[in-house]
């Protein structure tokens, strides 16, 4: 089981993503922004950070990096792809996920432990959770407010593609408290909070985030079986 973690210039949470993949028991494969292929991985994670300094718009430049070509191609063929924070922004910029992330409503970066409800347990990245499970993971971003028009939001809700929702206090003004969404197939998921930082209670609030990586491993195994 090989899961890739992509490093763009300015990516920051790649080391954490690699650690989380390894903690889940998979082999982590470091992918570079200039890579032309995905080195035979079974799933890909786009980690958080400030790719290319987030200049222009978060994720807007990374979306054109060479490695994104094989990522987009593999995603279209059904490979599980996860975008965390900046990775989520890149997936939206690449058109793999609907909507956009804009500056937090209070115009400040926010780093805190955040309760999330897992709204969909049928995606490639969430099958390990009980429906409606509440998990505590860090959120840390300055441009984390999820935006889409009403029709799009209604469609997402109707199709069960809202994967994570903020509970208690919405940290960034996201529409309908949305913290993460999936594509129509449920194989591409993006979320602003950081499950890779909740894989060991020593260094994170909980280990609630581990289920994300374990889910993808289950999913790949089932696909192979």
């Amino acid at each position: 089981m090989r899961i890739g973690a992509v490093t763009f210039p300015g990516t920051l949470d790649d080391v954490d993503t690699v650690r989380a993949i390894e903690r889940a028991g998979a082999e982590a494969v470091a992918l570079w922004h200039g890579d032309a292929d995905l080195r035979g991985v079974d799933a890909v994670v786009l980690p958080g950070g400030f790719s290319y300094g987030d200049y222009l718009r978060a994720g807007a430049i990374a979306r054109f990096a060479p490695v994104m070509e094989p990522v987009i191609e593999a995603a279209r063929k059904g490979m599980p792809v996860l975008g965390i924070c900046n990775g989520f922004q890149i997936l939206c910029e690449a058109g793999l996920l609907p909507g956009a992330l804009v500056r937090n409503h209070k115009l400040r970066f926010v780093c805190r432990d955040q309760w999330l409800r897992v709204e969909s347990t049928t995606t490639a990245w969430t099958t390990r959770y009980e429906p409606g499970a509440e998990i505590l993971v860090p959120v840390k971003s300055g441009e984390g407010a999820y935006m889409a028009d009403e029709r799009e939001l209604d469609a997402l809700e109707g199709e069960g593609r809202v994967v994570f929702r903020y509970v208690e206090d919405n940290p960034n003004g996201s529409r309908r408290d949305i913290a993460g969404v999936s594509d129509g197939s449920g194989r591409i998921v993006g979320l602003m909070p950081h499950p890779e930082h909740a894989t060991d209670p020593l260094t994170g609030p909980t280990d609630d985030g581990l289920g994300i990586f374990l889910s993808a491993m289950d999913n790949v195994k089932q696909g192979a079986a």
């Binding site: 780093c111 840390k140 300055g142």
Partner: protein, 768 residues
């Protein structure tokens, strides 16, 4: 590789021209050089300096770069450092940052630096570039930066200008530090009216490396190449030197618009992040002989320091420096403080590999010169020599002053103005109100408004972060070996008695590190004072340095480096003397850390370690309730602090302590409030019946920590304290079923009520 455009170059003064025109007047006064300093430059060179040389001397001999007013006091560090203390030090004062051996082949480097004045002028960029600069100091030692801490001082919390400065500084640290991917794990936020026109922004960085990978800033080996890499050089941050430029330029390029560039540098954290990764790869590939970051004084500092610390001279072709402004003069190129630049010395045979690593990271790289066998730093501009100086005269042989020292006449009256005369709360109701009022006061309330803007999780090694007493970070994932760091200073104590006050800052940082379970190892400092030309300020300074040096000797931990910032004052009013002390500690296994919040174990007893005396001089109570500053600060007993630390470390190692929080500003009451709120668990507290409850709750006696011990460990732990001679008192119990803090016979506080008091103040001032 890149070159400037020769066709746009302005008139440039050469050494030959300076020799031919000895009497030409020079604007040295405008550049901050005194008559005798200018005369000394002429005597060193045997002629008048060129424009470029004058620019270099003026920045290198500035207070900021030369430490000319403070250097004579450094002997206190030397005189108080024993061989035993030195044993763990791999690099000390004089290098970019101190380095200590933390065991298992790991070395840790740490340093704190001020960026006070720029942060007042332009809070966001001033604070951001302060972070950038300290991080490059750590990289220049060959280390991977691991974590940041920020020690901040602002004017009155409610003042209009604080509402400009504090959010700007916080956003600058957040914007730059978060983008670098460095967790921010601690520091301080303090308010006092004396910082109104002069905030203090002190940034600390901790980095780690394998001990054998230590890189020092030396330019050795004739024929080795001098390489400039990172961002282009522009007109930003030139400051005083543009005075020189405006006097000598002619033509369009020197039009007035060009001179209006900000004197505060502008940071680009993305460039710095890439530069960090690029440097670390260069170190791994062993492609660097010596390295120096470009901070204050830019290339002037980097070239002269590299050359003078090496074994030879250096020749630099300055026109090869990639520029981002047209028509810059050599003086401007040499003094530019453009950010995100590094200067390395590289063996010729490694040059290609060096360039390849830079290309991988898209880092601009330029060979600008080479190490020579002479003893001169020679800088040319399109083939003509514009600088020809002995590098040591710039970097190490600057002026040194014995500034007049005089204990201020008002000091006696200040110390005689005891807080004992102040009316105290009497009865349960007044005590209750005082607890809440103190918890909500700007200096004691929750710092979340600030610290929630900092990423404390990135890189996944953060084990303790704010609001814990110290930040703690894992260094070795395999063994769990880690380091802890804390910065502290109560300027009010220092004002009342600079010697004792500075030792109290040391004691608190030391205690905070031990409260997490780490063994204190080494000390750094950032000494923020008023004008060096005020004898009263120099008295404070001298007392502070001596107090810190002698305190470190008593604790047996060395001072590995420091930073001095003078002239922190508005008009004639100096800031509270603020010698910020940073202590670094080590822990074999961070899984043994002691958390801050209670409630982690099913049954816990609260014990107060140390003794409480009636000490209110400089206290938060005197400040918050009476606006009073007078008397003497709490007594300091460093032997007791050492004993306390030993007990905490032993308790952590043997798993006897489940939570701990030190007592400092606001006393026991404040520690109790924070302990229950951080742990989100109630507690019942019983005060001693042989001491005034007010004193027990609000006195700020040093050397005290509140610990929670699992009931099963209580006897073993208290026996340990008794055997070691550390006073302790059973103060209460943790009650996981309760959502209240009950101080028996005084008051009961709901956690919601305490949270409201503690957490509402800063959002109320700066935006919810």
């Amino acid at each position: 590789m890149s070159q400037a455009h020769p066709q746009t170059r302005p008139h440039v003064e050469t050494v030959t021209h300076a020799e031919a025109t000895p009497e030409e007047p020079q604007p040295y006064t405008e550049l901050g050089l005194a008559d005798d300093e200018y005369a000394r430059i002429r005597s060193i060179l045997g002629r008048r300096p060129t424009e470029a040389e004058l620019a270099m001397y003026s920045v290198m001999w500035s207070e900021h770069c030369s430490y000319k007013s403070s250097k004579v006091h450094w002997r206190h560090w030397k005189e108080n450092t024993t061989e035993e203390m030195r044993a763990k030090m791999l690099a000390g004062i004089g290098e970019n940052a101190g380095v200590v051996d933390i065991g298992d082949g790991w070395a840790v480097t740490f340093k704190i630096e001020s960026h006070n004045h720029p942060s007042y002028v332009e809070p966001y960029q001033g604070a951001a570039t302060g972070v950038g600069g300290i991080v490059r100091d750590i990289i220049a030692m060959g280390a991977r930066p691991l974590a940041l801490l920020d020690s901040l001082r602002f004017g009155a919390a409610e003042a209009t200008d604080t509402k400009r400065v504090l959010p700007g500084v916080t956003a600058g640290i957040s914007g730059y530090g978060n983008c670098l991917g460095l967790p921010n794990i601690g520091g301080e936020v303090v308010f006092d009216t004396t910082y109104q026109g002069n905030p203090l922004v002190n940034a600390m960085c901790v980095g780690a490396m394998r001990a054998e990978d230590l890189h020092l800033a030396h330019a050795s080996g004739t024929g080795n190449k001098v390489i400039l890499f990172g961002a282009r050089t522009g007109l930003d941050g030139i400051g005083g030197v543009s005075v020189l430029a405006s006097e000598t330029f002619t033509g369009e390029e020197s039009g007035s618009g060009r001179k209006k560039l900000p004197s505060v540098q502008v940071g680009d954290p993305f460039t710095e992040k890439v530069l960090i990764e690029c440097c670390l790869e260069l170190f791994r590939e062993e492609l660097v002989v010596g390295i120096q970051d470009l901070g204050g004084a830019g290339l002037s500092c980097a070239t002269s320091e590299l050359a003078s610390a090496g074994d030879g001279g250096m020749r630099v072709e300055l026109d090869r420096v990639p520029l981002r402004a047209e028509g810059m003069t050599p003086a401007e190129v040499l003094s530019s403080e453009s950010q995100e630049r590094m200067c390395a010395v590289v063996r010729p045979e490694d040059l290609d590999a060096f360039l390849r690593v830079c290309a991988k990271w898209d880092v601009l790289v330029t060979e600008i010169g080479e190490v020579t066998d002479g003893e001169r730093l020679e800088i040319t501009w399109h083939g003509e020599t514009v600088v020809d100086v002995p590098p040591r005269s710039l970097a190490h042989e600057g002026p040194e002053y014995h500034r007049p020292i005089q204990r201020p006449a008002a000091q006696d009256a200040l110390q005689a103005d005891s807080p004992d005369r102040l009316p105290r709360p009497s009865g349960a109701t007044e005590l209750r109100e005082t607890v809440l009022r103190m918890a909500a006061s700007p200096n004691l309330c929750s710092r979340s408004w600030v610290t929630d803007q900092y990423d404390r999780y990135v890189r996944g090694g953060t084990v303790l972060a704010q609001p814990a007493d110290s930040g703690m970070i894992m260094v070795d994932e395999r063994t769990g070996r880690g380091v802890a760091a804390a910065t502290d200073c109560n300027g009010r104590y220092v004002k009342l008695d600079p010697y004792t006050g500075t030792q109290l800052a040391l004691a608190e940082a030391y205690r905070n590190v031990a409260t997490g379970g780490a063994t204190p190892l080494a000390v750094t400092n950032c000494l923020n004072f008023g004008s060096a030309e005020d004898p009263g300020v120099m008295w404070q300074f001298e007392q502070a340095v001596r107090g810190l040096a002698e305190g470190c000797a008593e604790l047996g931990i060395p001072v590995t480096g420091g930073n001095v910032s003078f002239y922190n004052q508005t008009g004639d009013t100096a800031v509270l003397p603020t010698p910020v002390v940073g202590v670094l500690g080590v822990l074999d296994d961070v899984r043994r850390r002691i958390p801050t919040g209670i409630g982690g174990e099913p049954g816990e007893t609260l014990l107060l370690l140390g003794e409480t005396a009636e000490e209110f001089g400089g206290s938060d109570w005197a400040d918050v309730v009476h606006g009073h500053l007078g008397g003497l600060p709490p007594a300091v007993d460093l032997r007791r602090e050492k004993l306390l630390a030993e007990v905490l470390i032993a308790g952590s190692r043997d798993g006897m302590i489940s939570a701990a929080h030190d007592l400092s500003g606001g006393g026991l009451a404040q520690t109790l409030v924070e302990t229950v709120l951080i742990g989100q668990t109630g507690a019942r507290v019983v005060l001693a019946d042989d001491q005034d409850p007010f004193v027990q709750l609000f006195s700020e006696s040093a050397g005290r920590v509140l610990v929670a011990v699992p009931r099963t460990e209580e006897l073993r732990f208290t026996e340990l304290c008794t055997a070691r001679g550390l006073p302790w008192r059973r103060t209460g119990v943790v009650d996981p079923e309760s959502d209240a803090l009950e101080i028996q016979d005084i008051a009961t506080f709901g956690l919601g009520e305490l949270r409201e008091a503690w957490e509402s103040t800063l959002p109320g001032l700066y935006g919810a």
